[in-house]
Amino acid sequence: MQLTVNGTARQVASPPLASLLHVLREELAITSPKAGCQQGGCGACTVLVDGEPRRACLLPLAAIDGAEVTTVEGLGTPTHLAPVQAAFDRHYAAQCGFCTSGFVMASTALVEGGGGKTREEVIEALSGHICRCTGYAKIVAAVTAAARGDVDPAAVEVDEGPQQEATLIPGSPA
């Protein structure tokens, strides 16, 4: 069977009933979709299939032969972030980061479809995603900012480590 993954045509050898999550992670070594529950309950494995956000853990390969699959690896790079990625970073919408790939993909579909400008729209679109760390407020803020064009990806700072020695506590030896 064949998939187009992040713009590249890939022949895949996994069995027809293998999940797309298994194909991506175990066969193609694309690890941004996470195996959070493998029951369709957490959203951490969400990828775009022909532009639509789908649970990779519930999707058998046979059902999507020939489809176009996009994961976070197919969005921006650290120096050229996509708007939703930049917004998540700028708004501190990730803590441990394990759910972030799924949130970013679902949010990308929402924003690229012209939605996400209001809190209600974002909550509706992301209702199937679980984040255990953030409490969601920062995620909603990030998505609405991206939808409204309030984030300039070029302005996001890439932390390249300490630029100079910082003394965090006055009088401390560090």
Partner: protein
């Protein structure tokens, strides 16, 4: 002070949003085997038969381990701190909680590992199980542990005690005695990343373990102790945790993986299923707490009697420490001069309990703060005013003889009142945390005041999503 108040980029933010942050499950080592465990289906049972040969005979199964394969099977999470051990890595003859691992298999695929687990010949004789900590002390309670119903190692006592002042006198002097019972229940940490590790045997005889642990050196010590290996033969690689919340302080998969990697001489990975994470990983403990306060009609708390019973589950793990935290915090942010505290770690046939966000403090604070409101209700007083009255002040000593140098109870209570729009009198609004003196120093607190001196702050912080 360049960091305080500044808006700094997260060091891991770009990695998170580009999917480049590498969690344990994302590490790829060629030839990695999958691990599955045989777990007890009963909360309490003798293991009458255990024969792993049928699993070992399956083509594609590279190693099976049982208790007999563990150099040091019983090791306590806190043994290095002098807390005696009680928990076997793999159940030996008896299973004390539903889900307790009995054997583990490393095989070519996840499905094959599960098939091999299913092939193990195991038979149980069910035994009576205990689930209610309040029944642990009954004469007819099921015997589940070599130590009896409670963890017994608190110095000369079988429980944590605090004795201060003269509680009987305080009860005699009280205008009222306000009682309450508080029972917060177990909570699963529920990280999005389930318990996962990957153990890799190296050509030089060492072992590399990729781990999602919250406690690197702690896990290193636990693995080394079970293997009876020196620390320098094990390299633990971690630091990126897909959500911890305390649940990844326990060393859940690393040691069994190490045994399977050594036995098979292949890299082995064990990733809990979501079902395993919910049913078999440790939880926050359920507690039973009873408070009786000796109070005056104008809102002073003269004394407190407190009983706390901590449901450890089947093994002690960190529970003795949790009860010690209760002993430390059972007066909350308030100064109470006459105290009588008893805290017990009680064993049940539940999944062992462990640290979770504010370990020990959250449960006791729930009881203490709810009880403060109950005292206010009974006396017909303002709940904020009663907190301010009994607040820790500079120079006060706690039940554990710790002298307060800069307590924040007054400031925090005033701020909370303001934020919720709760009106306070002028006298309350003018309060600070300064030493009690003159009319504001009641007789029952005179002896609480200590001279000022130096103090040292020691803390340890680990990063599991806070960005620190």
């Amino acid at each position: 002070m360049k960091a305080v108040g500044a808006r700094l980029p997260r060091y891991d933010g770009i990695g998170h949003v580009t999917g480049r942050t590498r969690y344990v499950d994302d590490v790829r080592i060629p030839g990695t085997l999958w691990v599955k465990a045989l777990r007890s289906p009963h909360p309490h049972a003798a293991i009458a038969t255990l024969d792993a040969a049928p699993a070992e005979a399956i083509r594609g199964v590279h190693a099976v381990v049982t208790a007999a394969d563990v150099p040091k099977n019983v090791y306590g999470h806190l043994e290095a701190l002098g807390v005696p051990a009680d928990e076997p890595l793999l159940a030996d003859g008896e299973a004390r909680w539903k889900g307790q691992p009995i054997a583990a298999v490393a095989a070519e695929s996840e499905a094959l590992a599960q098939a091999a687990v299913d092939a193990i010949d195991v038979r149980f004789e069910e035994r009576p199980a205990l689930f209610d900590i309040r029944k642990a002390f009954d004469d007819d309670a099921p015997s589940i542990h070599q130590w009896g119903p409670v963890y017994p190692h608190y110095g000369p006592y079988d429980h944590r005690r605090v004795r201060k002042g003269d509680l009987d006198r305080a009860l005699d002097q009280a205008d009222a005695i306000v009682e309450g019972v508080y029972r917060p229940q177990a909570i699963e940490h529920c990280p999005l990343e389930t318990q996962t590790s990957l153990a890799v045997p190296e050509p030089d005889g060492r072992l590399t373990i990729y781990s999602c642990t919250q406690a690197m050196y702690f896990s290193l010590g636990v693995v080394a102790a079970h293997l009876e290996w020196p620390l320098n033969r094990i390299k633990l690689v971690g630091g990126t945790v897909g959500g911890g919340f305390g649940g990844k302080v326990d060393t859940a998969t690393e040691t069994i993986n190490a045994l399977l990697a050594i036995k098979s001489q292949r890299p082995v990975k064990w990733r809990f299923t979501r079902e395993e994470e919910m049913l078999c990983s440790s939880t926050r403990a359920p507690w039973h707490m009873e408070i009786a306060d000796a109070v005056t009609s104008d809102g002073w708390i003269l004394g407190r009697r407190m009983l706390t019973i901590h449901d450890a589950g089947a093994y002690a793990r960190f529970s003795p420490y949790g009860v010690t935290k209760h002993a430390f915090h059972h007066t909350g942010a308030y100064t109470i001069p006459n105290l009588h505290f008893d805290g017990f770690v009680v064993f049940t046939n539940r999944v062992p309990t462990t640290a979770m966000r504010g370990f020990g403090v959250t449960s006791v604070s729930l009881a203490v703060e709810t009880h403060m409101n109950r005292v206010a209700d009974v006396l017909g007083l303002d709940p904020f005013a009663i907190r301010l009255r009994n607040a820790n002040r500079v120079g006060d000593t706690t039940g554990n003889r710790v002298v307060m140098h800069d307590p924040s109870t007054v400031a925090v209570t005033l701020a909370a009142a303001e934020r919720v729009g709760h009106e306070l009198g002028a006298q309350e609004r003018a309060m600070t945390n300064e030493r009690r003196a003159g009319d504001l120093l009641p007789a029952h607190l005179v002896e609480q005041q200590a001279p000022e001196g130096e103090h040292v702050v020691v803390h340890g912080v680990s990063g599991n999503g806070g960005g620190a």
